[in-house]
Amino acid sequence: MHDILVWWIGAQAADEAAMEVLRQRVEDVFEWPATCWHDERRPTGTYDAGRGQHLSTAMLRWLNSHRPHDAARVVGVTDVDLFIPILTFVYGEAQLGGHCAVVSSARLGSLTLPMQRQLTLGRLVKEAVHELGHTFGLVHCRDGECVMSRSPSLASVDAKHGTLCGDCRLIYLEKAASLGTPYE
């Protein structure tokens, strides 16, 4: 198979339309086939009662042990609020140079309010692409418009485009080359 998998792992029912948009964008940016992965299993042991949030690192661990092993990459998409111990929240996290990434829509807006859907989905796509970029070994880019720039606030998410800048794209293509040709 060797695709990038987009896997809804949220608490609510999957928003199939949104997942399809996300899948398409991932495929476009990484020039690599992406598939929506339908799997009813959900991460367990990620909730921290003290903080009322889910530990994103635990989500990554769960994804890594439950993913289909021939997948090129997996991005888990959720609607629960994520955190890492030192930060009040994160929009997502990824294994740098690893296989798994996770993103959450919890702080990006609402996918159900019609007025917000477009903007929120745009943000979710950027963050998903960003975290997947990390799995390909990309670090943060200083170009504030590049999808790989650090975005610790909604303003900075909105300030960036959903695509890789020229430099990041070159680095990505180099790394991706080692994965072989996807479309054979």
Partner: protein, 454 residues
């Protein structure tokens, strides 16, 4: 700058914190290492160069403050940030006193952490530029304790070097604070008399009688209170240099006395008869216009010519603004030693303010401004707000400011506070006495973030 060259050491006893923070920082491309306690942190400080240290406050064994204190001894130039789960002002203040750049309350606001690291990195880049500049300029622009790259001052240095070798009387002229005394000391230090004493007398500080006895000494019983024989400054300066500061202020009688000494190199103590001969080089200084005093009859012309053998004119600082950055560097280095507090430089904004100022009090005023700023500066870089120099504003600007709406005043005030805290929201919120969320909302409302990071 290459981010890999920024080396960050994370010190925390909790593994999860070390992992999560180092992972977060590595994604920015920085080189990150971790230490689980104070001892191993210090070991790493001995072994390698670090740019930034993030140190947990509460750790078993050595706590964060102790680590900070020791770290400063090993690598004083490391920027340290204290991490604490307990947001007490005490801790923050103690940490700052120990030289911490700032502190963070766990868990961190991602934006705050991100901005703080960015600021530290860009400030360090600035400091590195300054250090390079400093090394180059040290060689070229120094004469003893004086620095200047100004052409007129370079001529002064040359003249002073040459004059130092002679025994001729030197008259140093210049406005208050231009460095007349430093020049006098430099000449002495450069002269063959350097092994002898440098004796300074301020002629303005004393009454005629006291100054007379100060200069020439007195015999026992020369006047009421003269209970013992006293040597004067002329004798004390034997084989050395006598610096007669503020010579323009002396009375006609003393002008005559002085003229005599300069003519025959001998004098008598007050109340004495014995002629005393001394070998003294005289350097006189004044901020008055002596030539005019001569024209007006307030200063003896013959004495003026005796003193004015080698005149040295020190230009005011406003006529050599190019010296301001050099002087800042030099003065901060000296102040750091005197105050026991490491100040690395001034921000771009502060430099702009310092360059724009007119400096009526010349180098002394600059020195005082920097000293005050060094006391109030939160970090190791002096910010514009630390200087207390008001920017010259046009009357209309000032009036408009006074008549501004409540909102514009609030916006301006928040911006000033943010500049002062270098964008640190927690600190700014504390100063403003509002909570962080409120401050965030105001920043958003007034679009201060854009300005601040622009």
């Amino acid at each position: 700058m290459n981010r890999e060259r920024v080396r960050i050491l994370v010190v925390d006893d909790e593994e999860i914190v070390r992992e999560s923070l180092s992972g977060w920082l590595e994604r920015d491309g920085y080189t990150v290492a971790t230490a689980q306690d104070g001892a191993s942190a210090l070991a790493r400080l001995h072994g390698e160069r670090w740019s930034i240290m993030l140190v947990d406050m509460k750790m078993p064994g050595m706590d964060g403050l102790q680590v900070l204190e020791e770290a400063r001894k090993i690598q004083p130039e490391v920027t340290a940030v204290i991490m604490t789960a307990y947001a007490t002002v005490d801790t923050a203040v103690t940490a700052m006193k120990l030289g911490a750049y700032d502190y963070l309350v766990k868990p961190f606001d991602p934006e705050e952490l991100s901005l703080m690291i960015q600021k530290i990195v860009s400030q360090q880049a600035l400091v590195r530029e300054n250090v390079l500049l400093r090394k180059v300029l040290k060689r070229e622009y120094h004469f003893r304790d004086l620095v200047s790259k100004n052409a007129a001052m370079q001529k002064v240095f040359d003249l002073a070097r040459t004059a130092a070798r002679s025994n001729s009387t030197i008259l140093v002229l210049g406005e208050s604070g231009t460095g007349k005394e430093v020049v006098a000391r430099a000449i002495h230090a450069e002269s063959p008399r350097a092994v002898g004493p440098f004796v300074a007398v301020s002629c303005a500080a004393l009454t005629e009688t006291l100054l007379e006895s100060e200069l020439f000494g007195h015999e026992r019983g020369a006047f009421t209170g003269a209970v013992a024989r006293q040597r004067g400054k002329f004798e004390a300066a034997h084989r050395g240099t006598l610096f007669l500061d503020e010579i323009g202020d002396i009375t006609p009688k003393l002008q005559l006395d002085l003229l005599r000494v300069l003519e025959d190199r001998r004098f008598t103590r007050v109340g004495g008869t014995e002629a005393i001969e001394v070998d003294v080089r005289i350097i006189a200084a004044t901020n008055r216009d002596l030539q005019r005093a001569v024209a007006e009859g307030a200063f003896r012309e013959d004495l003026f010519y005796r003193l004015n053998v080698i005149p040295i004119h020190l230009p005011p600082l406003r006529d050599r603004k190019e010296d301001v950055p050099l002087l800042i560097d030099d003065l901060l280095e000296k102040l750091s030693v005197e105050m026991g507090r490491h100040i690395e430089g001034v921000s771009h904004d502060a430099m702009a303010v310092l360059m724009a100022h007119d400096w009526p009090g010349n180098v002394r005023e600059l020195r005082n401004a920097l000293e005050r700023a060094a006391v109030v500066a939160a970090g190791t870089i002096i910010q514009a707000g630390d200087l207390g120099l008001v920017k010259p504003s046009t009357p209309t600007e000032a009036a408009a400011e006074q008549l501004g709406t409540l909102e514009s005043v609030e916006r301006q005030h928040i911006q000033t506070v943010l500049e002062h805290t270098r964008g640190n929201i927690t600190q700014a919120a504390r100063i403003l006495d509002i909570d962080r969320v409120t401050l965030y909302n105001k920043i958003k409302k007034y679009r201060l973030r854009e300005i601040e990071s622009a």
